[in-house]
């Protein structure tokens, strides 16, 4: 029994949240990694693209809710997704047309594009706050939990509860589907291969009859879809707040890098590495040990490797260690 | 001078160099030939310190140089060119050459602030030298051109030009001829012979052009599938059945038909 309790406590506070957070990061990292893989720059505007997509979803969700539409136990926001993705696509395609295209034609160095994407980030940032304001916005509805801690305790009679949120479930499922689709798309389909070809050698892609503008357009569209989905799922799980999407950028980049830029599998792996390192290294094992150990050996300290003050630092330390042994990430990413 | 003892280089499960042993005598111009993918370039890279060998040993004048980094080998007098040109794209052709000599006093930060006179003198000499080499390579008109924006063959010439900027003991040339005009290649061949005779440079030359190999090289080593297949004068090699089958072939099949048609 105690052993079960220990497992449940560990799952509840470490495994489930880390898996869910990891999937959230992975979804974001997929977008970043795709841009890097194909358009060859680190897109700083990705966080704000996510914010824009989610904002559209929030607005549509509100509208749907006001019409009384709902999805039963699932959040209504899922219904709003297609519209939001469309909105986000329009935005990024527009951005590409008026901003990035110019530098592509100039064959500007990647770092220029990085800085340009910062400019885009500032602008999107302003646009989002301008439209919906800087505040927290709630738009989630439906069933919050697949199983809540209380229900779990009643169900099993254990002392420890295990909570799994609907959004966590959806996020994990979506992340897995997204990565599988993307992997298949890039490695198996003609369009996907042409995208990789373009990213490898633009001039030669031209000579093979690949239309670069098409490739770029597809890339942005996929990225917009990924960004919106990631943003909405994140917003459902926590709440929608523009500033946080900007902050999310850092762990997302870290995930993409640890996994290896340009590789969808890497994005997933990276997301989990970052999430698990944040959650486990600073976890206080006291509770788990209390169940596992005989009473006499019970720890009186917290049994915490490092205090949570350093959680962010820890994930970066892990990132560094990974990179020292694998300089281009776990899955041999690209580098320009 | 250079002794390669049972060198292996594996990429994953693939054995690019598979137990190659050879010896390069001082003052020779050794030709290294072999089919595409025989492992010639890989062997060069192992000797020049770009790739660590999976196993085996390389010595130079009796000293073990296995795994030494390229920049140290450079200072020991070992120079090499790259099969796929590695120019410094954003620098002018002249700068591409001027950067080569080691031990420039201007490469020490301190001197750039407090030893400007000395640097200026050195630079003048270097510049003259670089211009001389550029002229020899018939690209003097490109001296201020960015190296990233010259023709494919010209990049190969720069590649070669770099080795002419310093006094080397041994120079590894990896297909300097590919993409270079044959008339110019002849001149280059002459220069190699001259350097070899007058200054005692040792050369190792990878080439697929048998005329060029024939004019310059003795001995010739033929590699195939990561191993040394044959070694000897070009005549001997040309007569070797295995070499013909793997590398030289028997000439155009279609040509006669073409002429017949």
């Amino acid at each position: 029994m105690d052993f079960l309790n220990a497992i449940v406590a560990l799952s509840n506070f470490v495994l489930v949240p880390a898996i869910a957070y990891g999937s959230q990061l992975a979804l974001g990292a997929l977008g970043v990694t795709l841009i890097y893989g194909i358009l060859r720059f680190s897109n700083f505007a990705h966080g704000d693209t996510m914010a824009f997509g989610s904002m559209t979803a929030v607005l549509v969700t509100w509208w749907l809710q006001s019409l009384g539409v709902s999805l039963g136990p699932l959040p209504t926001a899922l219904l709003a997704l297609p519209a939001a993705i469309l909105g986000c696509m329009l935005l990024v395609l527009f951005t590409d047309r008026v901003v990035y295209k110019f530098y592509r034609e100039q064959k500007a160095k990647p770092v220029i594009l990085v800085i340009v994407s910062m400019g885009v980030m500032f602008i999107m940032n302003g646009v989002v706050r301008f439209i919906i304001g800087p505040n927290d916005q709630k738009f989630s509805d439906g069933e919050r939990f697949i199983i809540s801690a209380r229900e779990f305790k009643q169900l099993t009679g254990l002392r420890e509860g295990l909570a799994i949120k609907t959004t966590q479930g959806i996020t994990v499922v979506v992340a897995i589907i997204a990565v599988a689709l993307l992997f298949w798309f890039l490695n198996r389909t003609r369009t996907g291969k042409s995208m990789r070809a373009y990213s490898d050698n633009e001039d030669l892609a031209l000579l093979s009859g690949i239309n670069p503008e098409r490739v770029v357009m597809y890339t942005w569209m996929i990225v917009a879809a990924l960004a919106t989905v990631a943003g909405v799922l994140y917003g459902l799980d926590k709440s929608f707040k523009p500033f946080v999407y900007f902050q999310l950028l850092l762990p997302i980049f870290a995930s993409a890098i640890v996994g290896g830029l340009g590789n969808p599998l890497g994005a997933i792996a990276g997301g989990f590495v970052i999430a698990f390192s944040e959650v486990t290294i600073t976890y206080a094992w006291k509770k788990v040990l209390k169940y596992m150990m005989p009473e006499s050996l019970e720890p009186n300290g917290l049994v915490q490797l490092l205090s949570t003050d350093y959680k962010f630092a820890v994930s970066f330390v892990i990132l560094l260690i990974v990179l020292l042994f694998r300089p281009t990430g776990l899955f041999k990413g690209k580098s320009v | 001078m250079i002794v390669v003892e049972d060198v292996h280089k594996h990429f994953g499960g693939f054995h690019a160099v598979d137990g190659a042993s050879l010896e390069i005598t001082k003052g020779s111009i050794t030709g290294l030939i072999g089919p595409n993918g025989a492992g010639k370039t890989t062997l060069f890279n192992v000797i020049a310190g770009v790739l660590p060998p999976t196993s085996g040993r390389v010595t130079m004048d009796g000293e073990d140089i296995t795994g030494l980094p390229p920049h140290e080998l450079f200072h020991k007098g070992l120079l090499r060119t790259f099969q796929i040109a590695h120019e410094f794209g954003s620098m002018s052709c002249r700068e591409n050459l001027m950067m080569v000599p080691g031990a420039q006093s201007g490469e020490t930060l301190w001197n750039t602030w407090f030893g400007r006179k000395r640097i200026a003198d050195e630079e003048r000499a270097l510049r003259a030298k670089a211009d001389e080499v550029l002229e020899f390579l018939t690209i003097e008109h490109l001296s201020d051109h960015k190296a990233g924006q010259v023709s494919g063959g010209q990049k190969k010439l720069l590649e070669l030009g770099r080795t002419m900027m310093v006094d080397a003991k041994i120079v590894f040339l990896d297909e300097v001829g590919a993409g270079v005009n044959r008339t110019l290649l002849n001149t280059i061949g002459d220069a190699i012979i001259r350097l070899n005779q007058e200054r005692g440079y040792t050369f190792v030359v990878i080439e697929h052009d048998m005329d060029f190999i024939g004019r310059l090289c003795d001995p010739v080593i033929c590699m195939a599938e990561g191993k040394v297949l044959a070694e000897g004068t070009l005549e001997e090699i040309k007569a070797n059945e295995q070499v013909i089958e793997a590398y030289l072939g028997t000439g155009l099949k279609n040509k006669d038909q073409l002429e017949g048609a």
């Binding site: 093979s208 | 099969q83 494919g152 697929h208």
Partner: protein, 237 residues
């Protein structure tokens, strides 16, 4: 004489805003013909090829394919029109496997290209061995084979090769020339830059010598080979 199938007619042009590299340079090729361009390094051979393929601006003159003026078309439109090109440098997708490189060659084809792929593998057996390896990990000569293979996959109506034999071993070179002859026999015009000039001119129907962006000598392959001046200055004696 009637209009050639593909002609870059009195082309003048250069890179970006830079000076003219080509000066009234003309190259042309007809079905069933092999045209070879030779000349010293930096003469503008590659530039001429790129100009014909629309990869740099032709400031005066024109490019015509089968009588149609294509001077203004983008490279990928020319691919669709049936032109195939192997550039001199960076001519493979280094991060993609050999097989994917070939597939990309067939990008515009909608029919089943497995047959063509088999032919390419037959021509360059080493590529079949390395079909799942990243092309960037190949040796210099192997890369060159991939590059040519990629262009063959297009099944082009006209094939342009910029130094296809640079760095390939004699046996492969012979095979390659054989194949080129074969291809040209099927009626496909071939335009080729070569430094292996003597061998190339031997099989050439037409030869151009470019010097400093200008046509210096033009003639059949045999004529040029026989011209002592040309031999001495450009073919290495």
């Amino acid at each position: 004489m009637s209009e050639p199938f593909l002609i870059g007619d009195t082309m003048t042009g250069g890179y970006g805003k830079g000076p003219d590299i080509l000066h009234d340079c003309t190259i042309a090729v007809n079905p069933g013909e092999i045209a070879v361009i030779v000349g010293p390094n930096g003469a503008g051979k590659s530039t001429a090829m790129k100009a014909v393929f629309g990869m740099l601006e032709v400031r005066s003159g024109s490019v015509r394919l089968d009588g149609e003026d294509i001077t203004k078309l983008s490279p990928q439109d020319r691919v669709v029109k049936g032109m195939g090109f192997v550039p001199q440098t960076s001519n493979i997708f280094t991060t993609m496997t050999v097989e994917e490189n070939l597939e990309m060659g067939a990008f515009i084809r909608t029919d089943d290209f497995s047959q063509t792929m088999e032919q390419v593998y037959h021509l360059f057996p080493i590529l079949k061995e390395k079909r799942y390896q990243a092309a960037g990990e190949l040796s210099g000569g192997q890369r060159q084979q991939v590059a040519v293979g990629r262009a063959l996959m297009t099944q082009p109506k006209v094939l342009m090769l910029d130094e296809p034999t640079a760095g390939v071993s004699p046996i492969v070179m012979d095979e390659l020339f054989d194949r080129i002859i074969e291809v040209s026999r099927t009626g496909i015009p071939i335009l080729m830059v070569e430094q292996n000039a003597r061998q190339a001119l031997e099989i050439a129907d037409k030869g151009y010598v470019l010097v400093q962006g200008r046509n210096a000598y033009t003639g059949t392959g045999k004529e040029l080979l026989a011209d002592p001046e040309v031999r001495k200055s450009f073919l290495g004696g």
